[in-house]
């Protein structure tokens, strides 16, 4: 019976039977369905839980849903609720499952003893103890109580690099612990990535973050993408450009290369790399001379009318120099740049004098990256500038600007940038027609602008233009600085940067800032929100040193180590080369590939006593001692290298909780989905336990140098696995009052020690004791601003300076561009976004005589972080290389500066040395040895130095090899063949790449000569699945004067067919090139 039943079901399950008996006679549909197909389910539907997360790659910050079954991540997909990404992901985001669960991740600690030939395994606890030992020892051995007779209380023996890929909470602990240890050399990708943004936007508007958010681009009438490869580097954000385009907006892409962004743009304008100031200056000139500026806006919100000091001299007068330049020191004394009768950087006149005296003999302090403090507040100036509302006074900003840019004509643009006149005028046309009362245009840029010796000034140029056109603070307007890593904005806000404390409070400088009062006097503004600097600083000190911080001891202000100059990422390398810096933490950064002059980065590391690398896999920065290029060339021998190396596997974003701050300034919380496996730990775990062990070691010390570490607040709840609570860290960052209640806004901060706050600009992220960054109200239930999705600094405002979206009377400039407006009945500002203004301050408010601080801001001072409340067309202070952007050629360039006899930015920072040679001046002997312009950039398929993409097969296969892009014309000139190999050579190194010959690279006509450009995506290195030479072998270390960002976007090189030589022959090739070009330590060093 059972038997026949069995046979029967067997027969019935036979498709032929089903064919005969059912509808599907031909057996092509239902009858053929298999048991597997019948039981098919989406594996996401079988998940035990769905965890809300954020993509760990780039700063778009796409929402992710992580599906977990049996404590395994089984799928990662876009979160459709996210107002930023709407469920979409780019290939990197889509590959996060493979990134986090794939076989390339390491799960054991590795150790390389000094001179060792290979790795050894080490257990985690032992490794932690060993690292703690080394920190304590090196710190002791290298402790500097004083430097040059000034108290510094620090160590230069230890440095830390990395943070942009980490959570804010992790960066917070790094900065907190390192600072308490007296380590000032704390840096992260923000330096090499967008530091110039902070200075550029900060001095212009008062905050260093993007003035708008990506989603608002949908409201633009014209979008100019310049210095960014938006569609490739921020693919999911690009949907908002498409959104605007669908509604009729014009999209313009200005880029040396025709990229995937250009393919979707209406107008692609090829430009010679390194000449954007000439181009933007040309537009500024066009706007001013054709009177296309938005006059009402200009008068209401900018410093166009302010009168400048009569001692000021422009580059027009001094042939490429502004007044105040010292040829020997190569720095500007900026006091002639000031407004007439207004002091810089001092609240009171006498302090100002003292400040000036001090600064005079201390160029080092002008080199200490101060302009980056403009990240959250404008430059401090005292007094009210005189104004000429008719804009005719010869020394008013507007007239100065007009004169400064008068020579930036369409012809100049054509000659310098290689952009034909008609094309240039077309850009001007689109931009001016789509700006003004009824229309708004936006600029999107990224590192095509930042990474130049004039990086900050590029951004200033766009800021000036946008102010002239009246596009800041308005819907569809603004400047979107497209940030890099998932939390690079966060790692500037909560800075693992040497020159900043959380919230862009500067690190105190030994020379001027020994006491808290001096510090505040130098840094605080008289007017605007930055006048509360003391409250911010004291609250920070309270959160770090708790009860120990009292008014009597200056709230432990002395516990902060002091700067004496630039200690930036590149200075750290120099310290390593000099043998001063002995211990190095790499926490999620790969300088052996990603930093300029990769070779110097490795040589620096080879000079260390110890190196700690925390990463997912064995990146180049962890293994250079056994397989780096210098080992291959014989310059270094493994057994000679004394560096002790620790490798700690890092936990991925799915394995830890915390917040990332994306390019919209939005803090998005991601929840841990699963615990990390093996020895992998979060960076929060690492920092916390490292701090714990060191504190235990030093607990009994009586050395005053150890007091900051002993007194440090370091109690965070741990879970069973010893993981500290990121939530508790975020809560500390948010801050609380004396009763321990969470604060909800930075205006609650006090300078009397009654409040504690780890980062004043993040105050409010934990309002009411609720983690606001974890809010996930679906986009579909909100307007485009989506204010209930996560939390955006400052104070959940999405479009900064949005007071400027209304006219001086408080009405929207246009009914089609309404954002916030004055509601006279309710006597408050209202609208779609949170007003970036005091809500109750009427448009007609005028400060009474002698008003201070925020009360001194009038009802039209839309730029509330600026000390004069204005958007700065002209920066009377705050920048080290000029009050207005001026075209200089890059360090290495084949062309003379057509505008001035000063070839390069005179204030740039150079690091001449055997391993960092520069190229000859154009039109001098040897100049033609490196005849081509090289620019470096990104591909959609890879991520930065490759640590997260070259190990990921799904991404590697999409761009499997390092290549260079050249035009057919250049290929013919140099005999390069498509798909073959080419060797690219500079005075630094020689690399090889496959050749892609493409029309997308167009030769340009510059100064009547042909300029060829070579494109190099910089993602490759020797380790991983997809391997290749690193583009940064070619670049040199030469830095911008304000924030010390390197020039990796415009260099020169030679290119020749064939693969590069191996072994020692490679160095030999470079040597012959140097010889041919006649390169010495003086080359390229001209002012």
């Amino acid at each position: 019976m059972g038997e026949t039943m069995g046979i029967r079901t067997w027969i019935e399950s036979w498709p032929v039977y089903r064919q005969i008996t059912g509808d599907d006679r031909s057996g092509r549909a239902a009858a053929a369905k298999s048991p597997h197909s019948r039981n098919l389910r989406a594996r996401t539907a079988t998940a035990d839980r769905v965890v809300k997360s954020v993509c760990p790659f780039c700063a778009v910050g796409c929402g992710q849903n992580i599906y977990v079954r049996d404590d395994e991540v089984i799928q990662i997909e876009g979160d459709p609720d996210s107002p930023i990404s709407r469920g979409r992901l780019c290939p990197k985001g889509a590959a996060t499952l493979q990134l986090t669960t794939g076989p390339s991740r390491r799960h054991t600690v590795l150790y390389r003893p000094p001179h060792g030939r290979d790795w050894q395994e080490l257990d985690l606890d032992t490794a932690m103890e060993m690292v703690a030992d080394r920190v304590v020892r090196t710190r002791r051995e290298t402790w500097q109580h004083e430097y040059d007779g000034l108290r510094v209380a620090r160590t230069m023996g230890i440095a830390s690099l990395g943070g942009a890929a980490l959570d804010n909470e992790e960066n917070y602990l790094i900065k907190k612990l390192m600072t308490a240890l007296g380590v000032v050399q704390v840096e992260n990708q923000a330096r090499v990535c967008h530091s110039s943004t902070v200075a550029g936007l900060g001095t212009s508007f008062g905050r260093g973050g993007a003035t708008t958010f990506m989603q608002d681009q949908q409201n633009s009438d014209c979008i100019v993408i310049e210095g960014s490869n938006y569609a490739e580097a921020h693919p999911v954000g690009f949907q908002w450009v498409m959104e605007a385009k669908a509604r009729g907006a014009v999209v313009i892409h200005v880029d040396p290369r025709f990229s995937r962004t250009s393919a979707l743009a209406d107008l692609h304008v090829p430009i010679r790399a390194g000449t954007d100031i000439a181009f933007l200056g040309g537009i500024i000139n066009h706007v001013i001379s054709d009177e296309k500026y938005f006059r009402d806006y200009l008068l209401a919100f900018t410093n166009a009318a302010s009168i400048v000091n009569e001692d000021f001299r422009d580059t027009e007068d001094l042939d490429g120099l502004f007044s105040g330049f010292s040829e020997e020191e190569r720095v500007y004394d900026t006091h002639t740049w000031r407004y007439e009768g207004v002091d810089v950087a001092a609240a009171a006149g006498n302090r100002d004098q003292r400040y000036e005296e001090r600064v005079k003999d201390a160029p080092s302090s002008r080199r200490s990256g101060r302009p980056e403090q403009q990240g959250a507040g404008g430059v401090a100036i005292g007094g009210d500038p005189r104004e000429d509302p008719t804009l005719t006074h010869p020394r008013c900003v507007f007239q100065i600007l007009k004169r400064h840019y008068a020579r930036y004509t369409p012809e100049t643009v054509e000659e310098v940038c290689g952009i034909p006149r008609d094309m240039f005028l077309r850009v001007c046309g689109h931009l001016t027609e789509n700006s003004g009362r009824d229309r708004t245009s936006t600029f999107c840029y990224a590192v095509g602008w930042t990474q130049h010796t004039v990086g900050a000034q590029y951004i200033r140029a766009a800021s000036i233009l946008q102010l002239l056109l009246g596009n800041i603070g308005r819907p569809g307007g603004g400047i979107q600085a497209l940030r890099g890593h998932a939390s690079i904005q966060g790692s500037s806000d909560i800075p693992t940067l040497y020159n900043l404390l959380p919230g862009y409070i500067p690190m105190p400088h030994a020379r001027e800032e020994q006491t808290l009062d001096d510090f505040i006097a130098v840094g605080a503004a008289r007017k605007g929100f930055w006048s509360y600097m003391k409250a911010y600083t004291v609250s920070l000190l309270k959160s770090w040193w708790g009860d120990e911080a009292t008014p009597e001891n200056d709230f432990c202000f002395d516990y902060l180590p002091r700067l004496t100059g630039s200690h930036s990422a590149y200075d750290i390398v120099m310290e390593q080369m000099r043998g001063q810096c002995k211990g190095y933490f790499l926490m999620g950064e790969n300088p052996a590939v990603g930093s300029a002059n990769a070779r110097v980065q490795r040589l620096g590391m080879a000079n260390l006593d110890w190196l700690v690398v925390r990463d997912f896999s064995l990146v180049e920065s962890a293994t250079w001692w056994k397989d780096g290029p210098e080992i291959d060339s014989g310059e270094l021998r493994t057994e000679d290298i004394g560096t002790e190396v620790f490798f700690f596997p890092a936990a991925s974003h799915t394995e830890k909780s915390g917040t990332f701050t994306n390019t919209n300034r939005t803090l998005q919380w991601h929840d841990r989905a699963v615990p990390p496996r093996g020895d992998a730990r979060s960076d929060l775990w690492f920092m916390y336990h490292l701090g714990r062990i060191i504190r235990e070691r030093l607990a009994g010390s009586t050395d005053p140098a150890d007091r900051p570490i002993q007194a440090l607040t370091w109690d965070y709840p741990l879970d069973e696995e010893g993981e500290p609570s990121a939530d508790a860290v975020l809560s500390e960052i948010n801050g609380h009052d004396a009763e321990g209640r969470h604060l909800s806004t930075s205006t609650q901060l006090r300078d009397d020690g009654s409040t504690a706050c780890g980062c004043w600009i993040y105050c409010g992220v934990y309002t009411d004791g609720v983690n606001q960054a974890a809010r996930r109200r679906p986009a579909s239930e909100q307007d485009w601003i989506a204010s209930e999705w996560a939390w955006t600094w400052p104070a959940n405002r999405h479009i900064l300076y949005n007071r400027a979206s209304a006219d001086p009377d408080g009405n929207p400039w246009s009914p089609r561009k309404a954002l916030v407006w004055w509601d006279a009945e309710r006597a408050r500002w209202t609208g779609h976004d949170v007003p970036d203004f005091q809500v109750g301050k009427a448009p007609d408010y005028r400060p009474p005589e002698g008003a201070k601080s925020v009360d001194a801001l009038s009802g039209t001072d839309a730029f509330i972080m600026q000390s004069d409340g204005k958007g700065w067309l002209y920066a009377p202070a705050g920048l080290n290389d000029g009050p207005m952007p001026t075209h200089y050629e890059p360090q290495d360039t084949p062309f003379r500066n057509l505008l001035y006899s000063r070839q390069r930015n005179p204030a740039r920072l150079t690091y001449p040395g055997e391993n960092n040679r520069y190229h000859p001046d154009p039109e001098t002997a040897g100049a033609d040895v490196f005849p081509y312009v090289v620019t470096t950039y990104r591909l959609t398929e890879h991520f930065t130095a490759g640590g997260m993409s070259r190990w990921t097969p799904y991404l590697s296969e999409l761009q499997p090899e390092f290549f260079c892009e050249v035009s057919p014309e250049l290929a013919a000139e140099r005999g390069l063949s498509h798909g073959g190999w080419a060797t690219v050579v500079t005075a630094r190194n020689a690399i090889e790449a496959r050749v892609l010959i493409t029309d997308r690279m167009a030769p340009l006509r510059i100064h009547g000569r042909t300029a060829h450009q070579i494109g190099l995506p910089y993602h490759w290195g020797d380790n991983g699945y997809s391997v290749g030479d690193a583009g940064n072998e070619l670049s040199s270390i030469v830095l911008d004067a304000n924030v010390h960002i390197q020039e990796t976007k415009a260099l020169t090189a030679d290119i020749r067919p064939g693969r590069r030589p191996r072994g020692a022959a490679r160095t030999e090739l470079v040597r012959t090139y140097r010889q041919r070009a006649g390169i010495t330590d003086k080359t390229g060093m001209e002012v």
Binding site: S26, M242, R1000
Partner: protein, 305 residues
């Protein structure tokens, strides 16, 4: 012979008021060539990695569809205009040259925009067409390939015996056999996801909605409108591919808006499902069989030795 008898009609709702036919409209005019679709598909379907192969074909290093690539993004660089787009990188005009053939005038050499040449970069994400008349399905001897209730064409991994017949049958070069595994694989239109009410992984990821998933009738309507818009805007090269139910495969379940001839994207210009000729093939075969029978029979006539 039951060839003319259609299988469960893919164009209509399934038996018992099943779901409507689902498909893709891939609008290549908004594709940014990011390849998210390729990766999302691989992640979801846990497809093996396809090997590192630098092809030199613009930014396409996948090469084409196959057993381990179910979405493939094509990249085409052309000296041709796209609507009123201005690129500034076109070479001066002259008789048409193929890409890669150097021409020695620099863009901008000649004055004025009018004399500069044109350039455009086309990107297009290709996928299985889920043909209404699907050759792969027709020829599959095991029933591994079958038509689902959504009108899609799916390979069943527990059935396929790797006979390889479907591979040359597909007129688009979609389905392929996986080395080492032996079975044939291709896009399933995320059959497993559809069952749970989810959108396919590739279209979900697509940052610009270049891949649109939905009810096929609706998509066809949307595509017609889109074509009109593009033509109006001067993008006269826009055309639909595969949306016509009267074409050689009776229309596809995944159709495209292209900006050049299909073959430029590696697609056949006028594919016909091979089984359309099958009745005729059998007729000829029958005649040949009879010929053989007759021939052999004839051989027995005549002299015995």
């Amino acid at each position: 012979m039951a060839i003319d008898e259609q299988p469960a009609d893919p164009t209509a709702a399934g038996p018992g008021g099943g779901p409507p036919r689902m498909g893709f409209f891939t609008d290549t005019s908004v594709c940014i060539g990011c390849k998210a679709c390729e990766v999302a598909c691989k992640e979801w379907n846990m497809i093996p990695e396809d090997g590192l192969d630098f092809t030199g074909m613009s930014f396409d290093n996948s090469g084409g569809l196959g057993a381990d690539t179910w979405r493939h993004v094509a990249f085409i660089e052309q000296r041709a205009p796209l609507g009123f787009q201005e690129t500034g990188v076109g070479r001066p005009e002259r008789e048409p040259v193929d890409l890669g053939m150097p021409s020695f005038e620099r863009p901008g050499d000649s004055t004025g925009a009018d004399e500069r040449g044109d350039f455009r970069w086309l990107m297009s994400s290709d996928v299985c067409k889920h043909c209404t008349s699907a050759a792969c399905l027709d020829v599959c001897p095991t029933g591994s390939l079958f038509r689902t209730e959504y009108g899609t064409v799916v390979v069943q991994e527990d059935i396929c015996n790797g006979c390889g017949y479907c591979v040359p049958a597909c007129p688009y070069g979609v389905i392929d056999q996986r080395k080492g595994d032996g079975r044939a694989w291709k896009c399933t239109l995320c059959y497993d996801r559809l069952g749970d009410g989810l959108e396919p992984a590739c279209s979900k990821a697509c940052p610009t909605d270049s891949i649109q998933f939905g009810d096929l009738d609706e998509l066809r309507q949307r595509a017609d409108e889109r074509l009109g818009t593009l033509h109006e805007a001067g993008v006269s090269s826009a055309r639909l591919y595969g949306e016509d139910p009267d074409d050689g495969v009776d229309g596809t379940g995944a159709f495209f808006l292209l900006l050049d001839e299909p073959e430029v994207y590696g697609l056949p210009p006028d594919p016909v499902v091979t089984t359309r000729d099958l009745p005729s093939m059998w007729t000829y075969a029958g005649a040949a069989a009879l010929t053989l029978l007759a021939g052999v029979g004839a051989a027995f006539f005549g002299r015995r030795r």
